[in-house]
């Protein structure tokens, strides 16, 4: 039986969230949970282990970079791969996200195949 993976998508835009969930539905054995913003994301991360986290940067209440910082102090998720998704495309933003502990950086508008490939790569899923 194939292993089942869990993924948390943190995105304030319902439209983007739906698109990300659709893209991730193409990855076999991946169960996706949605969160509206950073605070909701942290709430969902408390007590539940996720195998991968995808988060937007620009969000109200708590942005994605703060979320990344907080996740890295959580013993349960300190090594969980994090993919940052944002409209910012500069190398500086990319470096900032990576320095805070993100593992990968995808810019909007997202391409579903790119998201799928990145998630598979980080979860080491072949095929």
């Amino acid at each position: 039986m194939s292993a089942e993976y869990t993924c948390l998508v943190v995105e304030d835009s319902p439209m983007m969230r739906q698109l990300l969930v659709f893209a991730l539905s193409r990855v076999k054995n991946l169960r996706v949970t949605e969160a509206d913003d950073g605070v909701d994301g942290l709430r969902k991360l408390a007590g539940t282990k996720y195998d991968i986290i995808l988060t937007d940067i620009n969000m109200p209440i708590m942005d994605g970079l703060k979320l990344v910082k907080r996740v890295r102090t959580d013993p349960m998720h300190k090594d969980t791969p994090i993919v940052v998704i944002t409209t910012e495309g500069s190398e500086e933003d990319r470096q900032r996200a990576i320095a805070l502990g993100a593992n990968a950086y995808i810019t909007k508008p997202i391409q579903a195949p790119q998201v799928i490939a990145k998630v598979k790569e980080l979860l080491k899923i072949t095929g």
Binding site: S13, P14, M15, M16, Q18, L19, F22, A23, R26, T87, G89, S90, T107, K108, P109, Q111, A112, P113, I116
Partner: protein, 302 residues
């Protein structure tokens, strides 16, 4: 006549002659035996030489036979190598065929995945555009669609004010206030500047979209998308610039633009009418007579 000397010949050989004969005989016998011995020696030597030659010939023969057998084995091996080479070529040919099929399949799979993703974009955009009749939410969804799905950095949404004959910006991003002044329409010849392009798109109802890479120094909008309800244009979406990482519109953008042209206006107008009706949903009476298969009375209020 007999010779004179013959008469004196005796029957007895003279002694000298006999001795001489004896000597001669002994000499002959001695010579005979010596020659015989020599001949025998020669024969023995020759025999030895021939035996040696025979042994050599047999060795050569054995060596040649071994060589022949070895050559035959080599020929067998060469035949096997040829057979294996042919088999290898056939297998390689199958592998190449299989690889070509795999590549074809992978490409097709990627194409299908891309088309599926594009369809998902269209579905999500349309779904959210029509998921509400609250005007601010419709505008928010339009903005999200332009920013997140198309990747627009600077854009404006204009709605026609028929009373003034102007296109009025109702939402914008990344533009100065001076860029958002109302755009008059239908007052005469359109200008060749950006505002003229927006007006032309609205008046003609024909979208204008840059198809190649976007030049940062251009003065024209990247896209002007008239919004229509049935045959009537009610506004224009104008995209001036894209996000830095996006240098041109891609296939799905053109599909999104077609969808926006048809759906954005109906979503905006529907929300506007809903707001004007104070959020009241029309009664069943408005649906009377729409379907000829249902008698009007069955829909009428008692």
């Amino acid at each position: 006549m007999e010779k004179k000397g013959k008469g004196r010949r005796s029957d007895r050989p003279p002694v000298d002659l006999a001795a001489q004969l004896k000597l001669q005989r002994e000499s002959f016998v001695s010579t005979f035996f010596r020659k015989g011995a020599e001949f025998t020696e020669e024969l023995v030597t020759e025999n030895d030489r021939l035996r040696a030659a025979l042994a050599d010939a047999e060795r050569d023969n054995a060596a040649l036979r071994t060589q022949l057998a070895s050559d035959e084995a080599i020929r067998d091996l060469l035949r096997k190598i040829d057979d294996l080479e042919r088999e290898k070529q056939a297998l390689l040919s199958h592998v190449h065929e299989a690889e070509a099929h795999t590549t074809q399949f992978t490409n097709r799979h990627a194409q299908i995945e891309e088309e599926l993703a594009n369809l998902a974009n269209l579905h999500v955009a349309s779904y959210h555009l029509h998921s509400t009749l609250r005007l601010p939410m419709v505008v928010r969804h339009l903005r999200e669609l332009l920013q997140q799905l198309v990747g627009a950095r600077a854009y404006a949404i204009y709605v026609a004010d028929d009373a003034r004959g102007e296109l009025v910006a109702i939402a914008a991003e990344g533009l100065e206030a001076t860029d958002l002044l109302p755009i008059p329409y239908g007052a005469g010849e359109t200008q060749e500047d950006a505002r003229g392009t927006v007006e032309r798109a609205f008046v003609t109802g024909i979208a204008r979209v840059e198809e190649g890479p976007l030049d940062a120094t251009r003065h024209q909008p990247a896209a002007c998308l008239p919004m229509r309800v049935d045959d009537r244009a009610v506004g224009v979406i104008v995209i001036h610039a894209l996000l830095a990482q996006k240098t041109r519109f891609v296939a799905v953008d053109f599909e999104l633009f077609k969808m926006l042209g048809l759906h954005a206006a109906s979503a905006l107008v529907g929300a506007q009418l809903f707001a004007a009706a104070d959020g009241r949903v029309p009664g069943v009476e408005v649906f009377q007579g729409i379907s000829p298969s249902i008698p009007p009375k069955s829909l009428a209020n008692p």
